[in-house]
Symmetry: C2
Amino acid sequence: MQENKIGKQTFVFHNEPNIIGAAAVVGKKEGQGPMSKWFDVILKEDTYGEKTWEKSESKILKKAILLALQNSGKTKEELDTILSGDLINQLMSSSFMARDLQIPFLGLYGACSTMTESLILGAVLIDGGYAKNIVAAASSHYCTAERQFRMPLEHGNQRPPSAQWTVTGAGSMILSNQIRDGEQMIGGEPAKNLVVTHATVGKIVDAGIKDANQMGAAMAPATVDTIFQHLKDTGREASYYDVILSGDLGIVGKQIVIDLLKKENINLDAVYDDCGVMIFNKDQDVHSGGSGCGCSASIFSGHIFKEMRQGKIKKALLISTGALLSTISSQQGESIPGIAHAVAVEGR
Amino acid sequence: MQENKIGKQTFVFHNEPNIIGAAAVVGKKEGQGPMSKWFDVILKEDTYGEKTWEKSESKILKKAILLALQNSGKTKEELDTILSGDLINQLMSSSFMARDLQIPFLGLYGACSTMTESLILGAVLIDGGYAKNIVAAASSHYCTAERQFRMPLEHGNQRPPSAQWTVTGAGSMILSNQIRDGEQMIGGEPAKNLVVTHATVGKIVDAGIKDANQMGAAMAPATVDTIFQHLKDTGREASYYDVILSGDLGIVGKQIVIDLLKKENINLDAVYDDCGVMIFNKDQDVHSGGSGCGCSASIFSGHIFKEMRQGKIKKALLISTGALLSTISSQQGESIPGIAHAVAVEGR
């Protein structure tokens, strides 16, 4: 049997699963931010024509999957499995999307780390020969998350400066055991093929933080743990990557990651950014930045996917980051467990 | 690349991941039922010494994992990843278990189908060479489920005859790329080695049922779909298996499965049973039977695992079954999507 693991926590994908299609669908506010031009669809209004926020989110996720599929040149019938998750109790967005699409479904919950969780398991299924074409996806919605985790929107409660704004959006990627049929041209050049080369499964790190408005700080230590482990397992320097992106630590959490890694003599400055910091402008009144599964999902499926296809980014490491709290665990006085999974993607 | 898929929805595990350890921990009521002698631990009282039901459930899950590990002859340090899920919002039981154990963690949500979801992905990771030792687990607790999905326990509401009783319990299995170190003797005979040979990933089937007290009926069509697809993909007759077990359809759902398959000329009578029917006696006042992730998890990790080790059961097909509803989706008038995943296990 071939060994596909190196170090303590890292998978190696020797068959290099291809990311042959991707799409990002986001809400109005996200479409007014600096990443605007990279999104495939920007909603005119966040209900997306549905009567409930949960159904809106499910429709956004479905749209991202169908667009990624179209973009990949594959048909729905060629898909083996959907791997997807979201923040809503019992994965309502993903479950109802999968009911509509009628494709075998594996539901995942990793809070906001879900995009890399679905990418990792999707890459495993392709790389190992268990599937030919896979959907890896994740979504979130400001209004479903606020209702479920915080206050009714109508309450209009104040948010501290460390609070983050849940991204309304979904990202989806199609992973395949073959490269995309037919060469695509981008700006007069043949588009690069994207492949998943490595993945590092994170373990839970609990920094003891109990304040649900300090998610960035709660998740930062898990992020550092996973970056550190990834570099150790692969024997790479941070500078191996053109871009290292954490999921949704926001302004506060991003700085903590930089500081903590500096102590380990790892300098990320040149290549590191955080999707939660990138997705909104400072004047959009989102305090510490964006959050939610849809944050890293839409940035990677939009901006990073397209830049890599153009060859402008060659090597990227995505570390989606999750805070595994619930309203019940908070009420019971528990601190917030953080987790982060890393996926390495390269252009060929 | 080796093809590890047959038919439309079925994985083949050519390297045959070994189930080298298993354990089932259940509550007091489950311990008074007909499966009593097969469980590894029966709690004296369902709080398990914790102050909240959620923490009790998390402790039950952790206990099942640690016992399975002990049973497998491996150490915590040899484990690569934990795959686990439960019914509590944001997987509180699994997340806090994984925080305590400090092992890389992938959270899964498939409602009561979670035991086979974790077994499938665990088998993929072992079979594909991505891990050497994996935990696949799932849990549920009557009191956490009632509080979250139904009524406060203190309310003492009446339950219709079709309602099921959520099992307090957890099951855990250790999957490994090697057989168990050292031969074990059971009843004077060397214990059989258990291997996972196939798995069928289910798609969602929604029968249009909206009554949350009709879970068995809501999940039965998905169960039938997955059994049918599994037999078709593998080219097997139902009689290939000594035992075919659905997860938690209860008395009502079990009969629907038998009836629906008869229409397709598939006769399951001789080999088929349902974990939800098996786990309680009729006089235990549980109406249609047991339910919850912990139902099929504890029956398989207890009864079936031990009977297979003794060679009394040679070939088993477990189909854990999930109802992917949430309280929100019900309030929004949605019907209950069902899903079922199948895993084939054989003694060698």
